[in-house]
């Protein structure tokens, strides 16, 4: 058994989890909403990216247009569905979010059909050898994307005025507002970034599997939830580490634990253990 194979496969999977979960944790950090419908936005990214690629023939162009378009969709989503219920107790938003997710799946089915759709000519399918491990180009692109997008996000948060406003709002919204920070703007940007990341993950998953179905958000919906809890809700760095760790643990678990534990159950077994020892999550500050 080649351990480096398993490690690399796990890290690639972890990068996909990271792209999905970081957006989720951003929304939670800012608004205290468990945004289940985030997985529906992930699926939307997959559909839009695939259809645009088939239409234009250019994966790169489709990718850029999709993440921007879905980013704006995320802003509209916030404005339409979450903003009106911001003052309600948190479970209201949670229930709304679950309902929206179910509705999105069924809307995709009505529009795009229940059967899967595929790329006419899937790009990035050649394999290359990296450090003795054979990988599809698409998987390498996933890792590069995760590093660039999430690295870019870290720069945005740390080095720009928007980032400072965002961090101020996360730590104390009322105080931030009294210093003249436009809360609505911060929230819009937050949803734009989160949704764009989910869309990027959606397109890449669509490409790796060459298959988009209305229900493809089902597994990410609950696994990303486990990841952000592990990472300490709202903590981006923790979420990143939890995502990568889960990818690697699942990778080894698939081979060594398959008789005892379903791969999708590993996240939750891990979650239960962590909550028993560190109920604040692995990486929460307090």
């Amino acid at each position: 058994m080649n351990y480096s194979d398993l490690l690399v496969q796990g890290l690639v999977e972890g990068c996909i989890y990271a792209l999905i979960a970081v957006g989720l944790t951003l929304v939670y950090g800012l608004l205290r909403i468990l945004h289940i419908a985030h997985a529906g936005i992930f699926t939307l990214g997959a559909y839009v990216g695939l259809l645009l690629t088939n239409e234009t023939g250019s994966f790169a162009a489709a990718f850029v247009i999709t993440i921007v378009a879905v980013g704006f969709f995320g802003m509209a989503f916030y404005r339409l569905f979450y903003e009106p219920i911001l003052n309600k107790p948190p479970h209201v938003a949670l229930i709304a979010s679950i309902g929206l997710f179910v509705a999105m799946e069924e809307i995709y089915r009505l529009i795009f059909g229940a059967t899967s759709i595929s790329f006419l000519a899937p790009p990035l399918k050649d394999t290359v050898e990296v450090a003795g491990v054979r990988l599809e180009e698409g998987r390498i692109v996933v890792v590069i994307l995760a590093v660039v997008l999430i690295g870019g996000l870290a720069l945005l948060a740390g080095r720009t005025r928007i980032g400072i406003a965002w961090r101020a709002t996360v730590s104390d919204a009322a105080m931030a507002e009294s210093f003249g920070i436009d809360l609505a703007r911060v929230r819009y940007i937050n949803f734009f970034v989160a949704s764009a990341l989910a869309a990027a993950a959606g397109i890449m998953v669509a490409l790796l599997l060459n298959q988009v179905i209305p229900t493809m958000g089902g597994v990410p919906a609950y696994k990303a939830l486990a990841i952000i809890v592990l990472g300490g809700l709202g903590n981006v760095k923790g979420t990143l580490i939890a995502a990568l760790a889960l990818g690697v643990i699942e990778s080894f678990g698939t081979i060594y634990l398959d008789r005892v534990l379903d791969r999708d159950a590993i996240a939750f077994a891990f979650l239960i253990v962590v909550l028993m020892i560190r109920p604040q999550g692995l990486f929460a500050r307090r």
């Binding site: 058994m1 496969q9 899967s116 060459n210 298959q211 597994v219 398959d258 791969r263």
Partner: protein
């Protein structure tokens, strides 16, 4: 009540009365997933069933009456399937019913039909307990265990591959296939060098592929459905595994090839539908199916068609809509359906030969046939 809500209610009421008013038809109940995760299979099976209904009705119907399918969406969930069964029996007063759904809902409804003594035919659900509900329950699809045995013969005998890796999808279907395969593999000199398990939701198989590469088998027997299998086979080939992949009905459909593209080439399956068949009924079904759905025929669609044809033949033989007479007709019937010549044993399981199909140049093609009555005999209790 707001006016739009009222108009919806009114439309619904009219629609309900309309369906109840057509008393000159023979009603056949049909539960199938039309929404949710199994909606794609639901669409195929319903299309196949409706083609059969239209064919029968175009030829004058049965006993002077047209057939009518009463369809309800069970989302492939037992919690919906049970009330649907009750509704079909008590409210719609169907002569008999067909399950165009998965094992769990079919198994749950089978008991309801048995208690009410209403004949129930499972088109493609595979769990062994379905027909054990009683003597009113039949199955036109082949059992997973029988399919697994046929696959073992294909791998060890026809293809002569002896060192085999089995990849098992963790549900009733996958487990039954693997158990059937293993129960007879010694007869064909097959040795299973490793087994892997994965869930229905898995799409990323990197770790399993890496491990199989180290096993270096002659053949891989996979028990999954097409939507799991297409990424699996793609990733196997991308990972450099060259062993032949042998599979089963779960792969049967154009979608598998559409997704896996070149990686699909050379995949061999044991199934019920022969796409290169010269049988005019099969050819007509294939054309009509493509016309109605926009995609090529699959095993699930063909199963829906076969189940309706069996129902029509039983209704004709019974000569009435008396449910006990229909049951007796089913028990003794022999029907030439597009999935083969079908007859039932004492348990209500189907006996038929199987087709082997192979992907060549982006299409499912005829490979061979498995005619081995002894091997393919379903259990009768």
């Amino acid at each position: 009540m707001t006016s739009w809500k009222f108009s919806i209610a009114a439309v619904a009421a009219v629609a309900l009365t309309a369906s109840a008013a057509s008393a000159d038809t023979i009603k056949i109940g049909f539960n199938t997933p039309q929404t949710g995760f199994a909606a794609a299979d639901g669409k195929s099976v319903l299309t196949g069933a409706q083609i059969a209904i239209d064919t029968v009705n175009a030829a004058g119907g049965v006993n002077g009456k047209k057939l009518e399918l009463i369809v309800y969406d069970d989302q492939a969930k037992p919690k919906f399937a049970v009330p649907i069964a009750t509704k079909l029996i008590q409210q719609d007063k169907v002569a008999m019913s067909i399950s165009g759904s998965y094992s769990a809902p079919t198994r749950a409804s089978a008991g309801v039909y048995q208690n009410a003594k209403v004949p129930y035919v499972s088109a493609y659900a595979v769990h062994p307990d379905i027909t054990r509900a009683g003597n009113y329950v039949f199955r036109t699809g082949i059992l997973g265990s029988v399919l697994g045995k046929a696959a073992a013969k294909l791998v060890g005998d026809k293809l002569g591959k002896k060192r085999v890796v089995i990849t098992i999808m963790k549900n009733d279907y996958g487990k039954a296939l693997a158990a059937g395969f293993k129960s007879v593999m010694a007869n064909y000199g097959i040795q299973v060098i490793k087994e892997y398990q994965y869930s229905l939701r898995d799409r990323q198989f990197g770790p399993i592929v890496s491990s199989i590469k180290g096993d270096n088998p002659d053949a891989i027997f996979d028990t999954g459905y097409w939507f799991v299998a297409a990424p699996f086979v793609s990733q196997l080939r991308a990972g450099g595994v060259k062993a032949v992949v042998v599979a089963q009905e779960g792969y049967d459909g154009v979608k598998f090839i559409e997704i896996a593209k070149k990686a699909a080439e050379g995949v061999i399956i044991v199934t019920a539908l022969d796409r290169d068949s010269k049988n005019p009924a099969v050819r007509q079904f294939m054309t009509e199916f493509k016309k109605r759905t926009g995609y090529g025929a699959d095993m699930v669609g063909a199963s829906g068609h076969a189940a309706v044809m069996v129902a029509a033949a039983a209704l004709k033989k019974a000569g009435s809509t008396d449910r006990a007479a229909i049951r007796d007709a089913l028990a003794s019937i022999k029907v030439d359906a597009i999935t083969g010549t079908l007859s039932f044993n004492a348990l209500g399981e189907v006996q038929k030969s199987l087709k082997v199909q192979e992907v060549r140049e982006g299409r499912w093609r005829f490979h061979s046939e498995i005619v081995d009555a002894k091997l393919l005999t379903p259990p009768d209790k």
